[in-house]
Symmetry: C2
Subunit: 394 residues, 2 copies
């Protein structure tokens, strides 16, 4: 629900227009953090803008829990909605496709075209289903780097992501320090809190306790844990919005001016219809096993875990950082962005932090909020910083 008053169409001057997804196939085995391997896999991705002759203007965009590789533009003239980050990607926008070659891929384990639980397991000829290995943020970044290799992008001008995408951007700066020049971590966190994990756990239990889950093997039963996935989405969705924002949008409005239904199964308020509808729609489009994997990847993310501190984990990074939080985000609060920034400062790294006033909660990162757009745009065109060889050189 972008707030722009003029709806985007493929012919809007600031739209990337009609775009096509591409698929890259990898036949070498991929060793995953969990200890298991995938013998082969495919990644679906899109690109927007032109790669310059120096191959130095690539911006990798990483997606969040429920989105995918379709970040901007339209797949056909009939498309009702553009890609999920269309408000920020396009000619003259925050991630300016007149300047940058933007790459976005669907993460491994997803359900939008990259190999995941709904893909055929070549070893069995059946869908992987619950046998698909649990992938992590580190695994995603590894496969993103493999895709960049294939696209002959040895260095990235920037890696940018919001929420779970911000975690991937951060992991890039740690795992491939010499390949990332700028890293923008937006509405994200260096690790989940107990409350974050608990919300994810309720979402997982919703799916797992659905009688149509069949221990994850629902596809071979011709079934789907739709109700569980709907509940999981409703719970997640609630944490992306704010009490204040929902008050403005719905208040206590009722679908009809009649009396209460006095029936526990009935809808009495607009906000109930909205969440039911959104949850139901999501459950038709998304794969439950993918959802489970994504939430576990969120829970596990903690780059400081094998280090003395987060600061130490970040000590080998070589890029500039921009960290952006939003005032009304209670899923990944501004305090978490401060934690990350403090750790980067302690590690003597160039970092800028901005806490942007916004009323849309965690979802704020999806909107073209002027200050946010200006900050991200300026950061992406900032010069690189290198420590001087010696403090006495001047």
């Amino acid at each position: 629900m972008p707030p722009s008053s003029t709806p985007q169409t493929p012919t809007s001057p600031d739209s990337v227009g009609l775009v096509q997804s591409q698929i890259m196939r990898f036949d070498q085995p991929l060793m995953l953090e969990c200890g298991r391997a995938l013998e082969q896999f495919e990644l679906i991705y899109e690109t927007y803008g032109e790669l310059n002759s120096e191959r130095s203007n690539a911006v990798l965009v990483c997606h969040a829990l429920s989105s995918d590789h379709h970040a901007a533009g339209f797949h056909s003239d009939d498309d009702k909605k553009p890609g999920w980050w269309d408000a920020l990607i396009g000619p003259g926008k925050a991630i300016d496709t007149l300047k940058f070659y933007v790459v976005c891929m669907n993460n491994l384990g997803g359900c939008s075209g990259s190999t995941g639980p709904t893909a055929l397991n070549p070893a069995t000829g059946q869908a992987y289903g619950p046998d698909f290995p649990l992938v992590t943020v580190k695994d995603w970044v590894k496969t993103q780097a493999m895709l960049c290799d294939r696209l002959n992008l040895p260095k990235l001008h920037a890696v940018v992501g919001g929420s779970l995408g911000g975690m991937q951007a951060l992991q890039w700066s740690i795992d491939y320090p010499d390949r990332v020049e700028r890293c923008a971590v937006i509405a994200s966190t260096p690790k989940l809190t107990a409350q974050n994990i608990a919300f994810n756990e309720v979402a997982r239990q919703s799916i797992i306790s659905d009688t149509n889950f069949f221990e994850g093997d629902y596809l071979s039963h011709g079934s789907s844990p739709k109700h569980g996935l709907m509940l999981a989405r409703m719970i997640g969705h609630l944490t992306y919005l704010t009490d204040e924002g929902m008050r403005h949008k719905f208040g206590r409005d009722r679908p009809s001016a009649t009396n209460y239904s006095y029936d526990v199964r009935n809808v009495d308020f607009e906000v109930e219809s909205y969440f039911r509808y959104q949850g139901d729609k999501f459950s038709e489009l998304f794969d439950a096993n993918s959802y489970l994997i994504m939430t576990k990847a969120l829970d596990y993310f903690d780059p400081a875990a094998n280090h003395a501190s987060l600061s130490e984990a970040l000590s080998q990074t070589q890029c500039r950082f921009l960290v952006i939080s939003f005032t009304s985000d209670w899923r990944f609060t501004p305090a978490r962005s401060r934690d990350l920034t403090d750790a980067l400062i302690a590690a003597r790294k160039p970092v800028s932090l901005a806490n942007v006033e916004a009323s849309q909660g965690h979802d704020s990162f999806l909107f073209a909020i002027p200050r946010y757009v200006a900050l991200l745009s300026a950061f992406l065109t900032s010069p690189l910083l290198k420590p001087k060889e010696s403090a006495h050189a001047d």
Copy 2:
């Protein structure tokens, strides 16, 4: 989980000791707000302290969503835990049983002994199940007044409640202005926000979409929507606690120091075990139809609905008010207590508001936080206030 270091026992000097529940039977038909009637019903209740000879020291305590009539003391020497508000009710405590005669009943529609969905419907000889009518805060207050009639308590020294209990206290002041002398509304709200309603709706959908729900008729199927009720409780429980409090209690602690499980169905963090365990325990004890009714009653509560304003709805009240919120409560935020207080001030009513520093979120009202105890205790022993006959009398 009261924070007191010395656990309460029936022989603790500040405990009300061993208590017994009593049952009051009503054979006159009860007309409910939904338009349906109950031909007969029972209310289970407890009392603590002694009624004075003037019958003027009765304090009615109203319970919240998942609690009941057992507010203080122990049912047997083997009881591991006292009543749910034992931290505040007892000799010398905030609601001092040396001074007051405390009454607490299980609300109609509940599942702890008062007539509700698990009770036998005399018309059918079967449990009411989903046929039990939807009761409201107004209905509860009506039955509480009927119980007070039977106990020969024409006036209440005070009505006190937290959360949904606070709504009942407020409704008392409106519906029985000449029977209430003091009204303490704690961690409550004059109406639910859209976010509150959405959380309740997710909880209801959890129960209703459980295949063992059988349209509410699970008892006659010898079944129970346990998973759905567990999820509903987990969701509710999450909104009673705070991110900060959970960080202190659980952080990212793990049950074992081993690697992650890399299995979406497994527990990896302590906080997951805790919520699963608490949700599971609750689902063994509580009735799903009761839970559904209670959440609808919460959603419907809005005493201002049939008035020009909340202030007008409160215009006929005659009692003193104490409104208490807790700084970390994000379910019913301090802003909601301010809304109520502003309306009472606009209505020229005597009201005091306190926003108490506390880290336990919505659950704060269950704890004997010193400032909160002092405020409630002082309020309960404050003199009554009456407007002077004329401003010129002096």
